[in-house]
Amino acid sequence: MSFLDFFVVFCFLGGVVCSAVVALHPNILYAAVALIGSLLAVAGVYASLGADFLAAAQLIIYVGGVIVVILFAVMMSESIYKRRFLDGVKKMFLPTILSIALMLGMFKLLVSTNWGELRIPNYENTTIRIGQALTGPYALIFEYVAIVLLFGLIGAIVVARPNILKKDQDGGNS
C-alpha cells in the first residue's frame, strides 16, 4: 500500500462522494461546492497518472475559472426573496433505474476485461512534451481552439450584455 495507492484511493473516494453530493443534494450551492471537490479529486488523479501540467491546468481553468462563473450564475439566478436554494430534485424513479443499470453494466464490463499492466510514465516533465505536441502535430488544432475561444467570447458577451434601453422587461437586473 504505497503512498501512490493510498493517494489514488483517496482521490477515488473523495471524487465519488463529491459527485454524489453534486447529483443528489437539493441545495444548488452545495452542489457547486461539491463540484469543486470532485474537480480537485480529478486533478489528483491526473497528478498520480503523471500528468502534472494537466493537473495544474485543471486547477487553473476549472477551479479558478469555471467554478467562479458557475457561482456567479448561481448567485445571480436566484429570485429575490427565495432565500434557500432548494431547487428540489424532481421525480427520480426512472433516472435512478437507468443510472444503476448503466453503472452495473459498465462495472461488469470493466472488471471482466483484463487491461494489462499500467506503466505510469516515470513522471518526467510533461510540459516540454505537451509544448512539442502543441507546436507539432496539434498546431492546427491549437489555432482552431483560438478561433473557438474568440467566437465563444464574443457570443457569450453579446448574450450576457445588459441591454439598458429595454428597461421595463428586465426590472432592476441590468
Partner: protein
C-alpha cells in the same frame, strides 16, 4: 518526481486543514453566548430588511466570462512559451513564434471588440451613453421616449 508531488500535496493539505483545525480547536476555548442581537446581520444598527441577496448588475458576470477566456489563453501559452528559448537559441523559433502570437492576436481581437463595445466599462452611464448612441443610430423612433425618462 513523485516525491515532489507528495511534497506539494502535503503543503496544500496542511494549508487547508490548518485553519479549519484552528477554528475547531478554538471552538472549545471560546465563550459562546449567542443572543439575538449578536446573531443579527450587521447593518450599522438598523434591523436588516429582506434577504442578503440583492440583484446586482451583471458587470461582474461579464468580467468573469472575459477572465475565463483569457485565463484559458494564458494556461495554454505556458507549454509553448517554455520551448521558445531553446528554439530561439538553436534556430527554428519561427513556427513557435507565429503559432503563439497568432493565438495571442486572435484573442486580442476579442479584447479590442469588447473594449470598443464598452462591455468592460464599469460605469453605468458610460455604457448607456455608448448603447444609446448605437440605438439612436439604428432605431430613430424607438429612442425618443427613452431619452427624456
Amino acid at each position: 518526481m513523485l516525491q515532489e508531488f507528495a511534497n506539494a500535496l502535503s503543503f496544500i493539505v496542511l494549508a487547508a486543514v490548518l485553519p479549519v483545525g484552528i477554528l475547531f480547536v478554538s471552538k472549545f476555548l471560546r465563550p459562546s453566548y449567542p443572543y439575538s442581537g449578536k446573531l443579527a446581520t450587521y447593518e450599522c444598527g438598523e434591523d436588516p430588511v429582506g434577504s442578503a441577496f440583492v440583484m446586482f448588475n451583471n458587470r461582474f458576470y461579464l468580467v468573469a466570462i472575459v477572465f475565463l477566456v483569457f485565463d484559458v489563453e494564458v494556461a495554454l501559452l505556458f507549454p509553448i512559451m517554455r520551448l521558445f528559448r531553446e528554439a530561439a537559441i538553436n534556430g527554428g523559433a519561427l513556427p513557435i513564434f507565429l503559432l503563439a502570437f497568432g493565438f495571442l492576436f486572435v484573442l486580442l481581437v476579442g479584447l479590442i471588440y469588447e473594449w470598443k463595445k464598452g462591455d468592460i466599462d464599469w460605469v453605468r452611464d458610460a455604457i448607456e451613453r455608448k448603447q444609446a448612441l448605437r440605438e439612436d443610430a439604428a432605431f430613430k423612433h424607438r429612442f425618443e421616449n427613452v431619452k427624456d425618462s
